[in-house]
């Protein structure tokens, strides 16, 4: 839909997403969230608040958790991005997803991709978190359905199995 005039102010921006090299043509100030959802069809990251408060747009950029609604596309140049779609296959993520199902950690599901990514980021840094550490790791991710306890329990459960599986 964009005219050629608009295209001229767009930039080629390259990064890897879930291990695949991608080059997109985007306005440098486009939100990374929109580039992923609208251009690359990766709709796992959701838009909740659009201002950094809710964590539903979470993804991993160079291994760290970020809110993609606050990342201008140009700042993703050269980055390695992992979205919920790419996290799917790893064993740790399988354990997390199973634990979310068992403990009732997902209801409407809007917050869930962000919750799983935040949990996975936490467990990578701290494989055996206390309840306080789980709460802190997820404090930027809001959920309007579960009341959080089921989510905390799911993460503790997955962490327990993680430790069991690796020992």
């Amino acid at each position: 839909m964009s005219s050629s005039g608009e295209d001229r102010s767009k930039s080629e921006i390259s990064f890897t997403v879930n291990g695949e090299q991608k080059t997109v043509l985007a306005f440098p100030m486009e939100r990374l969230l929109d580039v992923l959802r609208l251009q690359l069809g990766l709709t796992g990251a959701k838009e909740g608040c659009g201002e950094g408060e809710c964590g539903s747009c979470s993804l991993l950029m160079d291994g760290t958790l970020v809110n993609s609604c606050l990342v201008p596309a140009l700042q993703a140049q050269g980055a390695s991005i992992v979205t919920i779609e790419g996290l799917d296959a790893s064993a740790g993520s399988q354990r997390l997803q199973e634990a979310f199902l068992e403990c009732g950690g997902a209801q409407c599901g809007i917050c869930t991709p962000g919750m799983i990514l935040a949990a996975s980021h936490l467990l990578n840094k701290n494989p055996r978190p206390t309840l306080e550490e789980i709460k802190e790791g997820l404090s930027g991710n809001l959920c309007r359905c579960t009341g959080y306890l089921q989510i905390f329990e799911a993460i503790a459960t997955a962490a327990g199995r993680e430790t069991a599986a690796s020992s």
Binding site: P28, M29, G52, L70, Q75
Partner: protein
């Protein structure tokens, strides 16, 4: 209303030198963006004053942490996560580590930078009282060279700073002379993550027996800029801590601040909390002297 990305320019010069070079060509025209956790929120609300942005995110020159014999030089582009994970900062400047831990959620800490917190200049910013209490200094850089100035006084008024339009903050210097001090930092708000402070305080001090040898008290959210309570400090130095000194300090602290009523709290509540935090700190200091 949300901003339209096609109306905005964003460039990433890739080095500190190139970034200050760009700022120098037309001072005031380009707005730096580091982690974007303040800038992108303004952008989302359609309230970003500038249409031209220059990315300084992840510039190596702004992201180093140098541990020198007498000070730590913390690159202005260091994130809260970088600060939290640094051992020497944790040991010698625990109030800065705590402030980093209280600043939004983890995703925000992975992107938000100390330089951004300083220049955004919110009176409620959480790391600024710690910088004041630790007598931090700033190194500013432009094509004209570097200059160094005390952080105290950097905020000239509400959301106004002494940064020239062609300058960036390069580093924050923390003098390594407070390791023997008693420190007390508190954030009073609805919750730590994702809640702006109603009052935040960072205080440090040293006693010999019950006599106050040195004391620094800094508070945020109680005036247009983060404040050092210098009159209260002056009054306390050399005095013996007892009940009447504590109540005099509370009164004096309340007289030094200029809190307002806003959506988060009231002036009355903020004044009461400031007084109580000062008292809480003096009681800790006194307990240390008895230990």
């Amino acid at each position: 209303m949300r901003s339209d990305p096609k109306d905005y320019e964003l460039v990433a010069p890739g080095s500190l030198q190139a970034a200050v070079g760009l700022l120098a060509r037309s001072p005031g025209e380009w707005l730096p963006i580091a982690g974007g956790t303040d800038v992108m929120v303004q952008y989302a609300a359609g309230k970003l004053p500038s249409r031209k942005l220059v990315s300084i995110w992840n510039l190596a020159e702004l992201r180093s942490i140098e541990v020198l014999a007498n000070e730590i030089r913390l690159g202005a582009g260091c994130t809260y996560t970088n600060i939290r994970e640094h051992g020497v900062i944790g040991r010698e400047f625990p109030m800065l580590s705590s402030a980093a831990r209280w600043t939004g959620g983890i995703a925000n800490q992975n992107r938000g930078t100390l330089g951004g917190n300083i220049v955004n200049a919110s009176p409620a910013a959480d790391s600024l009282p710690a910088l004041l209490a630790y007598d931090a200094e700033l190194i500013l850089i432009s094509v004209r060279g570097e200059r160094r100035l005390p952080y105290a006084g950097f905020h000239a008024g509400y959301k106004k700073t002494k940064l020239a339009p062609d300058e960036l903050i390069r580093a924050v210097c923390l003098p390594r002379r407070f390791s023997g001090y008693v420190c007390h930092a508190r954030k009073v708000g609805s919750r730590n993550a994702q809640a702006i402070s109603k009052v935040c305080m960072a205080a440090l001090g040293r006693v010999a027996g019950q006599t106050v040898e040195d004391v620094h008290i800094a508070v945020g959210s109680v005036a247009p800029v983060p404040l050092r309570l210098s009159e209260t400090e002056l009054m306390l130095r050399g005095k013996v801590i007892n009940e009447s000194l504590v109540s005099a300090a509370k009164k004096m602290a309340v007289a030094e601040i200029r809190p307002i009523d806003d959506i988060r709290s009231t002036a009355k509540y903020r004044a009461a909390v400031t007084g109580n935090l000062v008292a809480e700190f003096l009681n800790l200091l006194s307990a240390d002297g008895k230990a």
